[in-house]
Symmetry: C2
Subunit: 523 residues, 2 copies
């Protein structure tokens, strides 16, 4: 049987495979034709050696060349977009348009270009000069970065093209991408565009490498290998926590995005003013991508009131009327079934949905559940279980005390949204609950759904554990995301001509912001 090759040290090479696997078309259940390898450790070892060599070479590579690579790669992706989008559609069942072609692919190339601009500007390095004491410091590449991409964004979070990839490369590190096994062919096509761009730009051969799949055991070994500088992971909580333990045992920084239920709070005045619009906004946000977004609103909090009942009835109706989109996999469908069953066990009631949909491929009925505040407070752990997909739970509260108690019981989340009346009628409740919600979430929104994570320098796609592994970092937002993959390096009394160019008194890069004796200056 012919098996796809892996990208090692700049070349497509046969894997030393311990097994092979095929992707499926989740819209049909059909097994796709290409066989992909499950690599043995020897493949990881080869990738690590090449990455270590590349890391040393990249330290002497001009930022301009790294930036050119990221731009060339973005251009290549656009040139090959038809094939890439087709492959992703086949492997994920996500709609070609607008999702894959018009939203996610442009987002991905935009991220690569923003990362290129950050690499070129160099301000992310936060060069800091104490000219009196002749002490200077700068963020420098941390070493080879292993990126595990998730199942739900085949381009924008892909290990070989997504935000972690772009940030790690822009910071001057080689990347070993571990493809998500649900979309190996998409990853293969992207990796080929990266390979070509790297070769065109003369980057070190081991700068971009990609393997398709490895055993759990080899995953743990990979993240704790001495040649690794850091790890980026987006995916399930259980897999992430295993990798976290292994990496941290050997002192490796690992940045994980694990789980989030993204509470959305509708305060009474907001519902009274424009309940119908809010219902539509909520439905759109919940069902986008069949709810398979890390920022999908899985928990809705609202007052016991006729307006709330009206909104929930509207939402339930829309959920039942809108077609259920295909899920990414049979495993995803199974996890939803298990998750909904667990919520029902914990006394949540199904308002609509609650069952898989028969027929071709993997679907689950758009599902709305509800529970009372008392129930939630009784079983906060069980009722804040993340169900990754088109499943949302509403919890009604009788007063702000109950709401604050629920918020206090929440684990860390990526986002939290509060809708309140424009008139100011909800302002006192807002003031009372904001401090409790604020410390539970990385991004606090007003009058806005959490889906749609803008690539902005001010974005925080992060949050307290277990949303992520460290509340001080973001995985989206350039240049902030680059710092994750950097080590602080100080030069104390080092002779001027031996300093990195960015730390010399006369700066060669007029775009760079530097902190000199306490003031930020450029040029």
């Amino acid at each position: 049987m012919e098996v796809a090759e892996i990208l090692i040290d700049g070349k497509w090479q046969p894997a030393e495979a311990e097994a092979s696997f095929h992707a499926e078309n989740p819209a049909t259940g059909e097994v796709l034709p290409i066989a992909f390898p499950v690599s043995r450790w020897s493949d990881c070892d080869r990738a690590l050696s090449a990455a270590a060599t590349a890391a040393a070479q990249l330290r002497n590579t001009a930022p301009e060349r790294i930036a050119s690579f990221l731009e060339a790669y973005a251009n290549n992706i656009e040139s090959a977009s038809a094939a890439i989008v087709a492959a992703a559609h086949e492997e994920t069942a996500l709609p070609v348009s607008p999702r894959l072609k018009d939203v996610e692919l442009p987002r991905t190339t935009n991220q690569l270009r923003q990362a290129a601009a950050a690499a070129r500007e160099e301000s992310w390095k936060r060069a800091t000069l104490d000219t009196e004491k002749n002490i200077r410091s700068v963020f420098a590449p941390i070493g080879p970065v292993v990126v595990f991409g998730p199942n739900n964004f085949p381009f924008a979070f892909n290990g070989v093209s997504g935000g972690d990839f772009a940030a790690a490369i822009a910071a001057g590190n080689p990347v070993i991408a571990k493809a998500h096994p649900l979309h190996p062919n998409t990853t293969r096509l992207l990796a080929e565009e990266a390979r070509k761009a790297a070769a065109e730009c003369g980057l070190a051969a081991g700068t971009v490498q990609m393997i398709y799949n490895i055993s759990n055991e080899n995953g743990l070994k990979l993240v704790s290998d001495s040649r690794v500088g850091a790890i980026g992971f987006t995916g399930s909580r259980s897999a992430g926590l295993h990798l976290k333990r292994a990496a941290e045992e050997t002192g490796k920084p690992i940045y994980l995005e694990l789980s989030s239920i993204n509470p959305v709070i509708f305060l009474p005045g907001a519902l009274a003013d424009e309940g119908e619009r809010l219902a539509r906004e909520l439905v759109d946000s919940c069902l986008a991508g069949a709810g398979q977004f890390c920022t999908s609103p899985n928990l809705i909090l609202l007052w016991d009131s006729p307006e709330s009942e009206h909104l929930l009835a509207d939402v339930a109706k829309a959920f039942s009327e809108r077609p259920s989109q295909h899920l990414l996999s049979s495993a995803g469908q199974k996890h939803i079934q298990e998750g909904v069953a667990a919520l029902i066990d914990a006394k949540a009631k199904v308002m609509t949905g609650g069952a898989p949909i028969d027929g071709a491929g993997y679907r689950y009925a758009n599902t709305l559940l509800r529970a009372t505040a008392t129930q939630f407070i009784d079983q906060p752990h069980a009722l804040q279980r993340e169900v990754f997909g088109n499943v949302t739970m509403a919890v009604t509260v009788s007063d702000r005390v109950e709401l604050k108690e629920i918020l206090a019981q929440l684990e860390g989340n990526l986002t939290g949204s509060i809708y309140s009346a424009k008139s100011g009628a909800d302002d006192d409740i807002y003031a009372a609950i904001e401090p409790v919600l604020r410390r539970k979430v990385g991004r606090l929104l007003n009058d806005k759904m959490p889906t749609g994570v803008a690539v902005s320098p001010a974005m925080n796609h992060g949050g307290p554990f277990p949303a992520t592994s460290h509340p001080g970092f973001t995985s989206v937002g350039i240049p902030a995301s680059l710092t994750r993959f950097a080590a602080l390096q100080c030069y104390d009394g080092v002779r001027e001509d031996r300093l990195p160019a960015i730390l010399r008194k006369a700066i060669s890069n007029p775009q760079t912001w530097r902190s000199i004796d306490g003031a930020w200056v450029r040029g």
Copy 2:
């Protein structure tokens, strides 16, 4: 038996002790009179509850008030300095002058005042505004910080007065300080000055708390408690790694400074030019504080040459002639004995010293060992064992290939120093070895010993594991050290009047640097 009280929720209170302990005077071995408690979990629990309350109150406390506290505390320490220095001298045997009175105490108050300035300026929060998308983010307090201070700096790294304390408070967090059990009375006197200053400035009662000692088991429980935001630890590698595992298991950021042997490399030209001066500089650095500094040079690398033999003979002579200072404890003396025995087992040869010194208190002869490059490369693990104290090992190399191999085998270190000829004669060797050393150390020095860690915005007192737990952070250097104790908080579409003042368009604090649409601006 009367036992000293612990500082909980703004008041000195009796501990619920499971045992008590006494400090010793390490210069005499005399047991000191005051009994101090080993707290049960209930004391930790009380401290955590008060800290959680204080954390919420501190979020609404003006930075000016926090800054005033830090300054008032610095003033109080100066007013009480005679008693504090006397207590520290009694508990540590460190010289009153210049060490405690003229160096460490001023350093400590300087750190507190720099932290006050950073709190007042607020630039450390890195307020970032994307005005077009109305997304804004800022670093905010992470929550209660537990600080474990080390044995070797009773003021400047003390859990209740040192760099981690100053950074955590300046970032707006309450601190639970765990005293080092070798200097409880010093810590008690400092904590009292902090308590008075906090009360004068009207800070939340639980802002500064202090316990003297807890069991290892309660230490692990403390760092993984849900009320804790982050942990700072400076101390031994084995204790630190246990705390690291416990904290990370529950997703708590923990910043550890663990161990470092601080390689110092003398290139041939430098030795030829001024070997005698370098020998003196090295001896001074190695023996400062009886070598009980985290940046003490424990590994000297130099060429096989007559000049090197000359330097080593000079150093050995000075080591044998200079009086051995008292160590901090009998345990420290025992660790040195074990460490030297292990180095000898690994074939290092004693040039001078190598035995404890009889008589009052705890001393160990100033010790110089040596090994060859071949020996080091054969047993890199055994021969880079940190021996915390007045013990240094020299390794001679026959060429740069051997030197690079040794550097490649080093674990992460806080510092690495290279001395080279002013004439440029060593420049090619420097260029060959710098990249290898650079990725192993947090601070690279030229022609300078690593002891003496300036409190500068450009300082990095950090480094790759196991020197610290994350190469992106520094524990010395303000404002950089504050960010460790902060969470990134994003506001997306949040109404202007609900934003923290620092994120509003019209800034109220004219000193603050903010990043607005990609440019750093102030005022």
